[in-house]
Symmetry: C2
Subunit: 186 residues, 2 copies
């Protein structure tokens, strides 16, 4: 059955490039070879998203960051994360982003899986991690264009409100699903 | 606190356009007005994703579609969905995509919420729906470049395997999180 669904790529051409991603067109033959299609694909570095679980006097909480998002033009409360740097492993990227954005480090990092942010139009992957046994660092280390507040939010509050502002970022919903599935909450 | 995080847009310019989306650059002032940044934003039509729950002899199952995804170059097993057509409401888009892709219709459609697929670089939203009380239609109505198989998969199998192939699409993970949260499964 599966080879009745697979397209074959005959050619690709670059059509756009900017600092964050590039775009190519993929010229493909349909599974039954009756058809040809041109599909636009966004190529970007992989990203890591890390769910930092902090033990507090009131129970377990996530360490989250609130920041302005230029695509949707609104504030978003999210798990920390960001794009891989050159030569960096996914776990190293997750730990570095955690430390830079939240001023916490983690003694324990657990891989929860990777998914395609949008396999229809994007070729990269998002890698998800659980961070536990957290320890406070002196300060955030933000990039020049990063302005973000750190917030400690009870786990149930985050999971119950995913999809309501300020929990607007769909990939944080994906992270929540993997956490519920693999983190013992489902 | 919040106005210490909000950027102000001073200008925008179009930089790319194709059949599926267009791209603009947004020139912004930082919250403290000390900095200027240029951010690239992808503009696309909103999408609907619909979780169709079918009552079977073995319990509840999702009606899903398996298809080739040109971005990640692999097969993906997903909830049905697609982009809004002109003038269409989100619920109408969800029901139409359900009918066209799976050959099932639903007497009951429940809105689960909307999220931004990537608020950092995309301006559109993904709208999530639960479809229940399903009824079989004679046939799929696929677009010329759509080749997809319909599969009936037990709910637990989908939720437990999200993040493992063929459950590779992150927005289906988001849908799973909203289902667990609002569908009585969390």
């Amino acid at each position: 059955m599966e080879n009745q669904l697979e397209w074959k790529e005959d050619a690709r051409r670059d059509v756009f490039k900017c600092r964050v991603f590039s775009i190519h067109e993929s010229v493909c033959r349909s599974p039954d070879e009756k058809d040809t299609g041109v599909f636009v694909v966004i190529d970007s570095t992989d990203w890591a998203i890390v769910l930092p679980v902090l033990e507090t006097e009131r129970g377990k909480a996530f360490v989250m960051v609130r920041q302005w998002r230029h695509g949707s033009q609104e504030l978003s409360l999210e798990f920390p994360g960001g794009v891989f740097e050159d030569g960096e492993s996914s776990a190293s990227a997750a730990l570095r982003e955690l430390e830079e954005e939240t001023a916490y480090t983690a003694k324990k990092i657990t891989y929860l899986g990777k998914m395609s942010p949008n396999p229809a139009i994007m070729s990269n992957h998002t890698h998800f991690f659980l961070a536990e046994d957290l320890k406070k660092l002196p300060a955030q280390h933000l990039d020049k264009d990063e302005y973000m507040d750190v917030e400690i939010v009870p786990i149930d509050e985050v999971l119950n409100n995913m999809g309501e502002p300020p929990y607007i970022h769909a990939l944080m919903g994906t992270a929540a699903a993997l956490f519920m599935q693999k983190g013992g909450y489902f």
